[in-house]
């Protein structure tokens, strides 16, 4: 992540686009702005409209309503071959009948550049993705990670204003995916190109992006920096989709300085004030499992007792499922060698710092649905 990424102003403007496929509305009046030199991710479950949005930006689909401008120029119905964008496709779409070299050279050949220049730029692009010396290979002779790099080089060699990435890492296995995430970030920072990525993996979006847009059912719910959407999700969907979340429905009892007390089935829990809450209002307290302390939490303002229903070891964490009356909580406690474990059935104290819990509206939809800056 590059917090000091150069901001060159609006590079891609998506203005209220709507796209239907027959009776299905894939994208509903989505607007957002991607800044120049930014790594932007569209995040959401499959079928949420994120890929359609990316394809509208690339010119592979045309929006039924609204429009897309790149670098200030409205794109209209400009076909993909005349847009200043290049795409890395989900299944890579490498040309199986060409060598690595010819794959990467394809875009330059289409521009009828001199052979000399093509040779040089392809060489540079392959070096950039750390694949020199494999130019003569067939695509089928490459590993998954190498194919991924060729797909990147084939797009980047054209020096697009905006690079579009459609689930670029989804075909790789875990270890390789983590490694390629780091590399994509490095490339983006080195080149300063605007990257627009689409992914269904919250971890990937959080780790790579300068800003993330969270989509579901064709609606853009929230756009923000990774920490912002994790810390202050705008609604239940965002809270639940980005990481694990305890969502406790309750009624506002009163406020006390920076915190608010919410009664949820016999238990009173506290959270950070949002500003829009009112006494008597039904709303939802969202608290992340790793912010819940158990065992020694009796001195926290909203401590209560619960019973361990189940636990699971995940490596760095032990995840407990607790029942406190009608409220069920997931807690993730760092696990250190020799750390005490609570057993199933054991009674424990649980609680959290109220400033680590936030309020979200109880209804599933966002208050100002459609989102976007």
């Amino acid at each position: 992540m590059a917090p000091d990424a150069p901001s060159r102003g609006a590079e891609v403007e998506v203005r209220a686009i709507t796209k239907r496929f027959g009776a299905v509305v894939a994208v509903r009046s989505v607007s957002f702005v991607i800044r120049g030199g930014e790594f932007f991710s569209l995040l959401g479950p499959s079928g949420c409209g994120k890929t359609t949005t990316l394809r509208v930006i690339g010119g592979f689909e045309h929006a039924d309503e609204g429009e897309v401008a790149i670098g200030g120029t409205p794109m209209g119905r400009t076909p993909p071959n005349r847009r200043p964008t290049n795409m890395v496709f989900q299944r890579l779409a490498l040309f199986p009948h060409y060598t690595v070299f010819e794959n990467v050279a394809f875009g330059l050949r289409m521009k009828r550049l001199p052979e000399e220049e093509i040779r040089q730029r392809v060489g540079e692009a392959l070096e950039l993705v750390q694949m020199p010396g494999l130019a003569g290979r067939k695509i089928s002779e490459l590993s998954g990670g190498q194919q991924q790099r060729v797909a990147l080089a084939r797009a980047l060699v054209n020096r697009p204003r905006v690079l579009l990435l459609d689930e670029p890492l989804s075909s790789l296995d875990l270890k390789l995916r983590l490694q390629m995430q780091e590399e994509l970030k490095r490339l983006q920072r080195e080149l300063g190109t605007t990257f627009v990525s689409v992914t269904h993996d919250p971890g990937e979006a959080l780790a790579m992006s300068d800003r993330v847009g969270v989509m579901d059912s064709g609606i853009l719910h929230q756009v923000g920096a990774p920490m912002e959407i994790y810390e202050r999700p705008r609604n239940r969907f965002v809270a639940n989709f980005i990481g694990d979340a305890n969502l406790i429905d309750g009624v506002v009892q009163g406020t006390d300085g920076d915190t608010v007390a919410v009664r949820a089935g016999g238990v009173v829990v506290r959270a950070r004030r949002a500003g829009w809450e009112q006494i008597g209002q039904t709303l939802t307290v969202c608290v992340r499992p790793e912010r819940i302390q158990i065992g020694a939490a009796a001195d926290l303002p909203n401590a209560f007792r619960g019973r361990v229903e189940d636990w699971a070891f995940s490596g760095s964490m032990v995840k407990y499922r607790l029942a406190a009356g009608p409220v069920r909580l997931h807690a993730a406690v760092p696990y250190l060698n020799g750390a005490p474990l609570f057993q199933v059935g054991e009674e424990v104290a649980a609680g959290w710092d109220p400033m680590q819990a936030v309020l979200v509206p109880t209804e599933a939809a966002a208050p100002g649905a459609g989102g976007g800056p």
Partner: protein
Amino acid sequence: MRIQGTLLWGLLAPALGLMALFYVVPLGVYFLNSFHLFRDGRIIPVWTLATYVEFFTDPFSYRIIGRSLQLAVIVTSLTILVAYPVAYALHTRVARPGVRAALALLLFSPLMVSVVVRTYGWLILLANQGLVNTLLRAARVIETPLTLLFNMPGVVISLTHIFLPFAIFPMYSVMGKLDLTLKEAARDLGAGWWDTFTHITLPLTMPGVVAAALICFTLSLSAFVTPQLLGGGRVQVLPLAVYNSTVEINWPAGAVAGLVLLVLSILAVRALNAVIRRLPGV
């Protein structure tokens, strides 16, 4: 799950038996005639290469072989040229479901109509007093009627028409396996429609084209009904030579012609198979 070998060969037995008894054996026996002699209207069961010598020293034989190959090459090329765009159009799915179904019905319907019925249809259409000549003369395009029947053009046109579905099938099937995002990728990299077609679609669908060519070539080479009925004896090809010789009880000559036909087919299949194996991505 694999079933036992014994049981499996049991399952295969009827088919293998049928093939052996009704294909390999009779063909072998028939071809044995090629080593016999035909003199004075009867077959003399001596063992000799005389019939081969006669066949290969007769210039007329080469004219028949040449005519057969010429017909096969022309029909194959024409069929592929007409069928490829159709397969491409069906593949890109521009037509709405209704239109596509109608197209498919139209294209594959020849298979449903007996070749005899079809051939007589053409007789009417292509005859000197037929529909085409009548229309052309009414429109004053021509003065004397065009000879479309009992010659090569008629046979070529009708064979092309018959083989169209056989050529569309394999090409359409290969196109169905073509990853459409490859075409999107080419467009994304700056290729227009024509560049996408020549650099991506055509090379990657060549296996289908070669398979179609293989089928059309082999079928053309051994086509019998159409050259017989529409060629009017003037389109002398190998299958007709086999038929004519055998009808005249000259089985040795028929067997030699039949063997030549078989060898030509096998050579064509091998040649086109070699092409397929060298294609990219196969």
